[in-house]
């Protein structure tokens, strides 16, 4: 009888362990990195296009003041953002929202906090032409295309990258988009753990990963290898800004903003579309209490989570494992 009981206990425990292992590996499989970067059929990758795009990205002559480049706000030293609560635009004037990172954007269609632009190719001219941001005229003799055409070195680079095509604002945007598509965060400790290195992350972080997918329900939106499904929600940030609701008059889209990727997230504070949460601990606490604003548009998924202090710590420990040790970016010598 005793032997039977021992066997029964061994059977039940091993079955339980197997189940737990299979559910963990099933979860892990949802976060595998892709093997290649997607490019548009109408704007395929080439080394010449990437090089040209990089030069244009770092070139302040693409702004009205001639002192602002795309990289002024999307600074590689700050994980391709600016580290500020809200961006700073033309004339050093504060913008309405935080500068989002441009890491890993090749995999998303709708861009900006409110999703108003489609694909990087369709987004690039938005900030360049915006009076509040780079304040560059997109037409006329002083406009973007004429300025670029006036720089001899760019003429040659365009010939190599887009032979036979006229330099237009749209072509400039295509070149910048090719460069931006290649801005991808490298493998982080979390990815090494997925590959089987059990020591790559701490037990506390592993617990945090389970909470992230279960009790804390973060993965309902922060899913996939980029830790975002690119969805738009009102998560209850207290703010007058109605976000996507400005042009999509549905209740669910009032105060709705795009779900941020969590790659390199500990390098990208302060957080939220308005930079209102300073630390990752603050963000976890924000979600734990179910947001700061109760209104009709608040997502049904935002509810108090009742996380213990240890659980909150585990979640933060997990978030720290998503930061990769990316190679420093070399600056291009710009053509004259």
């Amino acid at each position: 009888m005793a032997i039977f009981l021992v066997f029964a206990i061994i059977f039940v425990t091993s079955n339980f362990t197997l189940k737990a292992e299979s559910s963990l590996s099933e979860l892990q499989s949802q976060y595998q990195r892709p093997s290649s970067i997607p490019y548009l059929e109408t704007n395929k990758h080439s080394k010449a296009r990437e090089e040209l795009g990089k030069h244009l990205f770092f070139d302040p002559r693409l702004s009205g003041s001639k002192v602002m480049s795309c990289a002024t706000c999307h600074n590689p030293s700050f994980s391709w953002a600016d580290g500020l609560p809200k961006g700073v635009g033309h004339g050093h004037l504060k913008l309405g929202r935080k500068t989002p990172t441009i890491l890993n954007l090749a995999w998303t269609e709708k861009l900006m906090w409110d999703g108003r632009f489609n694909q990087l190719e369709g987004q690039v001219l938005g900030p360049i032409g915006s009076e509040a941001e780079m304040n560059m005229s997109l037409q006329g003799p002083e406009g973007l295309a004429e300025v670029v055409k006036g720089i001899k070195g760019y003429k040659n680079m365009f010939k190599k990258a887009y032979p036979g095509e006229e330099i237009t604002p749209e072509l400039i945007a295509k070149a910048v988009a090719v460069y931006e598509r290649g801005i991808v965060s490298e493998e982080a400790p979390f990815d090494h753990w997925l590959k089987g290195d059990q020591k790559a992350i701490s037990q506390e972080a592993k617990d945090g990963f389970m909470l992230f997918n279960d009790k804390a329900k973060c993965a309902s939106c922060h899913s996939g290898w980029r830790f975002t499904d690119d969805s738009f929600h009102d998560i209850g940030v207290k703010d007058e800004d109605i976000g996507r609701g400005k042009f999509l008059k549905l209740t669910s889209q009032q105060h709705a903003f795009k779900t941020s990727s969590l790659r390199n997230i500990d390098q990208r504070g302060p957080y939220m579309h308005n930079g209102s949460e300073k630390t990752l601990e603050d963000v976890v606490e924000f979600y734990n209490k179910g947001g700061n604003a109760k209104r009709e548009s608040l997502s049904e998924m935002i509810k108090p989570l009742n996380l213990s202090n240890n659980e909150k710590k585990s979640l933060v420990a997990f978030l720290h494992t998503l930061t990769s040790n990316d190679k420093p970016v070399t600056l291009p010598i710009l053509p004259r």
Partner: protein, 117 residues
Amino acid sequence: MDVLKENVMKMTIISKCCLLNMILAAPLVFATEHEIIQLDKKFNVQEITIKPGDSIKFKNKEKDITHNVFSLGPKNAFELKSQLPGQESKVEFKEPGTTEVECAIHQTMKLKVTVKK
């Protein structure tokens, strides 16, 4: 006799009119209800062709995810309210043409509805 003949003729005309009415009304009577499932932040199909007057029942079969299906057209534009898991809503498509359907929350969810006679 003439009155009888006249009455028979009248009855025949009325019967033909009724039959014509029934034939004309037939498409309305036989309008089909189609079902589109929302699961794993996807529609179960990306394209569907239906007839004018048909309707689509949008069903949220997620465990804990809310959807908000809408369309800006070009034909048959509509807006549904947020759908909690388990909820369903019906939309009638009257105009022939194409309707691009999306979820306002999840940008990967797209459905093309073609309404054809």
